[in-house]
Symmetry: C2
Subunit: 326 residues, 2 copies
């Protein structure tokens, strides 16, 4: 009875080296964290399922890094700095040890990149696909978190980076689209969380584009506006111009038939921001490394997103983004 | 585009009513928590997979409550008080709305019982079994968390409640054992986290019994003892007497053939404690509602668990508990 059962040997081999000091070497049932004094905690959790959020052939290190980064992207959209994370992992019993080794190596690489560590979690078997869940913790100065609520009629709609590459990358990996440089597939497999970009003094509301630009903009609309009582949430409309939505050279090369996929495909992990007009000049000059682009504006009216094509006509999209149910 | 896609309508219908104030009605990508001043945070995450941790026929409200309670049990073993939780849920697209309704009702019932709320999470589809992951947050006064490390030779081994009912309940639900009153199945489906029982001034080390009494006692042994340098972790042995391990009337009625299952079956969610001799009288008198039983003691030597039968002979167990891999 002194030998470690397989599950715990696996954890010791692959995950213990990732533990933050708060995680006690993953040798306890819990992590113990003294919250940074004077900071507000920001918490988010996202799951990823093999065959739904990533492909069985995706390299395990990139799966791990994507899992971490989609959660870091939520912190980025709130203007928060990351602290650490908990991970639960369900995998078939036959999963080779090399898969775990590569998965842990991916986590290790991004832990170093983002200065975070593993607090704890759980490893379990499953008769189904690999299913991952990650809870991330970050902090902001009290009162400076940027929320979904806060968009008002007249505010500009801004987005970071380029939109659509990841959705086209999925199409490329599925053999539906050429991707000669591999740039599109790379964006699908490894998002770039925009940490440090969103600042409460310039941005009134924000979220990260995960399910599709149009659908996620709808979330800002529903959470925005001002009710009769003057509080958030009366709803606000949005108008964007498809031609203004920033697309990479590779995405433009795919041609106009793929425009709708770019606008609704998701997996972008760019930040989508509502910016009061007086702050737009400052925002425009904020970053020299990540392009920030104004794609439209919020307008008075119900929480409806209108997308105009180059002629000014309304584009018909059969859906706004990705929905897991219904 | 103003109508909520199915996924978000489902979240609004079933999970928004569960949101803690910090969860912003689940209408944001993150929760915002001002940590209770002067408290240390305790974090834990556990996953549950249909067909592994619960049965497809288990009532969804009990599945939800078990998920919450196995995580609360981790807090209980650390002497922590619960704050709130994040939940990720992967379910097949065909999962009926009634399943989600019952699942949420189970969470609501136990949220009230334990005074906690939902901070956030993620709902996703899966081609596989229902897979749940929960991250729980609790607090302790700084320095009063009870860890796995801390057992020393001479300390008593104590356990709360009764051991084995849940493992026998699983056997009953699988048709391998009679369970005329349903008491065993009830313990499998709905554990009772022992919140408020473990106190740092009496208990040197603790964990909750989830994978099997003998295996989990091995964790206390490996984390315990004193190394040459005087720090935790040199390892310590344990001796328990099978006849002292508290079993319910229903478990005793199953007969001696099921004793090994009780000792190694797991899912008990009782607390297993290392108690210095000078604190054993106080611990014995601590609770009038939950029995606390001394089942053996830690002994000098390597981190090996010995189980003695009624004649004093060593019991041969083919495994100490449940391992998901290897």
């Amino acid at each position: 009875m002194s030998e470690l059962p397989g599950e715990f040997a696996l954890i010791a081999r692959h995950f213990r080296p990732l533990a933050a000091p708060e995680g006690l070497g993953l040798g306890d049932d819990a992590a113990f964290l003294i919250p940074p004094p004077g900071r507000e905690l920001v918490l988010s959790a996202d799951a990823m399922v093999e065959g739904v959020h990533f492909l069985p052939a995706d390299p395990p290190d990139l799966v791990a890094r994507k899992l971490l980064r989609v959660n870091l992207s939520d912190l980025a959209a709130k203007g928060a700095a990351p602290l650490g994370y908990l991970l639960t992992l369900a995998a078939p019993r036959a999963t080779p040890d090399a898969w775990f080794a590569a998965f842990a190596a991916g986590l290790a690489a991004d832990q170093t990149r983002y200065g975070i560590g593993l607090y704890g979690g759980d490893t379990t078997s499953t008769p189904g696909p690999i299913t991952l869940s990650l809870t991330i913790l970050g902090t902001v100065a009290p009162g400076t978190a940027v929320r979904r609520a806060g968009a008002r009629a007249g505010y500009g709609i801004w987005v970071s980076g380029t939109i659509g590459d990841a959705a086209l990358g999925l199409a490329a990996l599925q053999g539906r689209l050429a991707d000669p440089t591999g740039a599109l597939a790379a964006r699908y497999r490894l998002p770039e969380p925009r940490l440090g970009l969103v600042r409460a003094e310039l941005v009134a509301a924000c979220l990260d584009v995960s399910d599709g630009l149009v659908q996620d903009l709808g979330h800002l609309c529903r959470a925005g506006g001002v009710s009769d009582g003057g509080v958030d949430g009366g709803g606000v409309g949005a108008e964007i111009e498809a031609a203004l939505v920033p697309r990479s050279a590779a995405a433009r090369a795919a041609g106009p038939a793929w425009l709708a996929t770019c606008l609704t495909g998701g997996d972008d992990y760019e930040v989508l921001m509502a910016v009061p007009p007086e702050h737009e000049p400052a925002l425009a000059g904020l970053s020299t490394t990540v392009p920030l682009t104004r794609i439209g504006r919020f307008v008075a009216g119900p929480a409806v997103v209108r997308v105009r094509d180059e002629t000014g006509a309304a584009m018909m999209l059969d859906h706004g983004g990705w929905s897991h149910f219904g």
